[in-house]
Symmetry: C2
Subunit: 218 residues, 2 copies
């Protein structure tokens, strides 16, 4: 891409050609994705920037143009997971007709995204390793997701679609099951991502729904 966009992307002939900033963003996203894969494979503490550079086929010096260190990459992985959570909550809130549906639609969107996004999976188990200022932000966003889910469960108990339970503990149980995913699910393993998502959601539905909202299994 030599010679394009060096001085900004406002010139008409460059329409459709990614700007320098867009290219940078694409590369940065690929880097976060690769870091997510490496963290999942080897564990965060056991992965170095050298490992990630090697996986991308570039030098560590090249990586430093995008990130300061691996802690920043971990933070970026967390942001992917948190954005996913926000989108899932919004989907559940907009599309569910009762508390159970809102909870289940949220979980469905989150689990499917979580399975297809390595960076999200890599992130969750390593929240302690984040830098203090990043951790505070991520914990706040994670708590907001948990509270949204908890609220749907509470609504479901009130409208009769969810079996009476402690919404906090139910939420922790569900999030535990999801957050444990990266520990055992391998995209190239015997179980397909779709099967895993479907079964997990079925398990959550069974665990949450009241007798009144329980249909016969197909």
């Amino acid at each position: 891409m030599a010679g394009t966009g060096r001085r900004g992307a406002a010139r008409p002939w460059s329409t459709g050609v990614p700007t320098r900033e867009e290219q940078r963003e694409v590369k940065r996203r690929a880097l976060v994705h690769e870091a997510g894969l490496a963290f999942r494979r080897k564990g965060f503490h056991e992965t170095s920037l050298d490992d990630i550079a090697a996986a991308l086929g570039v030098t560590k010096a090249a990586l430093y143009r995008y990130v300061k260190d691996k802690y920043e990459l971990l933070y970026e992985c967390h942001l992917v997971a948190m954005d996913l959570g926000d989108a899932a909550l919004e989907h559940g809130r907009a599309s569910g007709r009762n508390g159970l549906e809102r909870a289940v639609l949220t979980l469905e969107k989150f689990v499917v995204g979580y399975i297809s996004e390595n960076s999200a999976g890599a992130a969750i188990v390593n929240i302690d390793a984040l830098r203090d200022e990043h951790r505070a932000e991520i914990v706040r966003r994670r708590d907001r997701f948990d509270q949204g889910l908890r609220e749907f469960i509470r609504e479901g108990i009130a409208d009769g679609s969810v079996e009476p339970c402690d919404p906090r503990i139910a939420t922790f149980a569900i999030m535990g099951a999801i957050n444990w995913l990266p520990r055992w699910f391998r995209p190239d393993g015997a179980l397909s991502g779709e099967a895993v998502a479907r079964q997990l959601i079925m398990f959550f539905v069974q665990g949450l729904r009241s007798d009144a909202s329980r249909g016969r299994p197909a």
Copy 2:
């Protein structure tokens, strides 16, 4: 205890007095327990032997009489969890009248023990940090527990007490919910250990049981 048991504990007057080996074992167990607490509180990577020595009010040199390093303590925490798992499986196998009961009794015993034993909780989330030879042993024992639980679920599907599902995924979901416990449950927090255990088990029962074995909630 100067002068007692130095040359073995076979002398009649020492009956009832702990032998040197027994005293050593008690101290070692207290050390593992304290390490479990520290790992849970600060995370394994962030905890040093100095921290553990300080919590016990002894010098690091004193600790070296019991363990080589913190990796050995982590391994000991894992052994506590694995012994708990073996006892739980045995209990479920001996006392359950169908697959669902066997699975639920196993989980109940495991969760209750897991909540009261900090060392167990500390262990599970840090399996990657174990030394290779220890990790292989622990992974083998953990897999044996998972397989036992999976087998009960399979039996439950066959005898009609468990809703048809993929027993592998159901087991991973359940173990995820349990293994996530140390991330949010605080013995001194707002939720009691009993309430957490009861709610988790209720959630698993709901998630697993078939319509045929479903009673009305109290």
